[in-house]
Amino acid sequence: MEVQGLQMTEAKTAPGLFKRNPPIAGEAEAIERAKAGDAEAFSKLYALHKRRVYTLCLRMLGNVSEAEDMTQEAFLHLFRKIGSFRGESAFSTWLHRLTVNLVLMHLRKKGLQLVSLEETINPSEDDSPKRDFGSRDTQLAGSVDRVALERAVASLPPGYRMVFVLHDVEGFEHNEIAVMLECSTGNSKSQLHKARLKLRELLRQSESTSLADLKEAAL
């Protein structure tokens, strides 16, 4: 089961990724045992990483069934290729890169061209973030909770969501994202900026709704 285009070699890790993905207790031993074909070690690695791999798939795909299929694919590839993991980057970084590449290939197979983000997965006029010139807008309250942010990210247009998740959540650099998505670095920066603008808009809407609800409840 060879997947074309999958980079299974360990790319040079961006600074900070080891910091963001520190080794987990028992992981190194499980990796070595899994390399020797130990089924229990596979199970241990799955238990340690299933939630992050699945969450990554779910955020990129926005669909539970596809996210489960890709989680399954990612771990099957992991178990097949674990012999090539040399420990030069954090294991989870390696696993996440593998997962991202699989998900992107899946999306390309579905006909979503990722070659030019601007032209292919740019959102419609209604979805694009509003420019912010001159109006006296209120600032975000500075207390956006995780649930609200998660909800806002889920409602981003796919192209924005992809770059936001890869850069701001997973910690990939723009040059890495550009390679993965086959676009320019400038394109990646621009999509990320639009994603954050759109999130700001969504979070402010959600804050005003909550405030209105509170006022109504107080009456």
Binding site: Y54, T55, L76, G83, F133, L140, L149, D168, R196, L197
Partner: protein, 96 residues
């Protein structure tokens, strides 16, 4: 950030906001050394609120690294089935 405008020619909000993707990629508002950008950031309430919000969103995104979702048990079941039917998963790593 490299200076693009002299301070005698103040930036408009549109010109300032055009620089934001590169400004954030270069490390955010703490890393601005272009006097015209700094001046605009200091004097424009709207743009400084925008920059603070975008920085805040980028910072908050890091908390999403901790996963909240869990795959169903069916996923591991299917993986096990594939593993047991394909001996290459066990043998390939040992060929090296």
């Amino acid at each position: 950030m490299t200076p693009k405008n002299s301070s005698s020619n103040p930036l408009s909000c549109a010109e300032f906001q055009e620089q934001l993707p590169d400004l954030f990629a270069a490390g955010g508002s703490d890393h601005i050394d272009d006097p015209s950008l700094l001046e605009h950031l200091r004097t424009c309430e709207n743009c400084s609120a925008l920059v603070r919000d975008l920085q805040y969103i980028a910072d908050q995104a890091k908390q999403l690294l901790q996963p909240t979702h869990e795959p169903s048990d069916n996923v591991w079941k299917k993986i096990q089935e594939s593993l047991s039917s394909d001996s290459s998963y066990v043998t390939e790593s040992n060929e090296k």
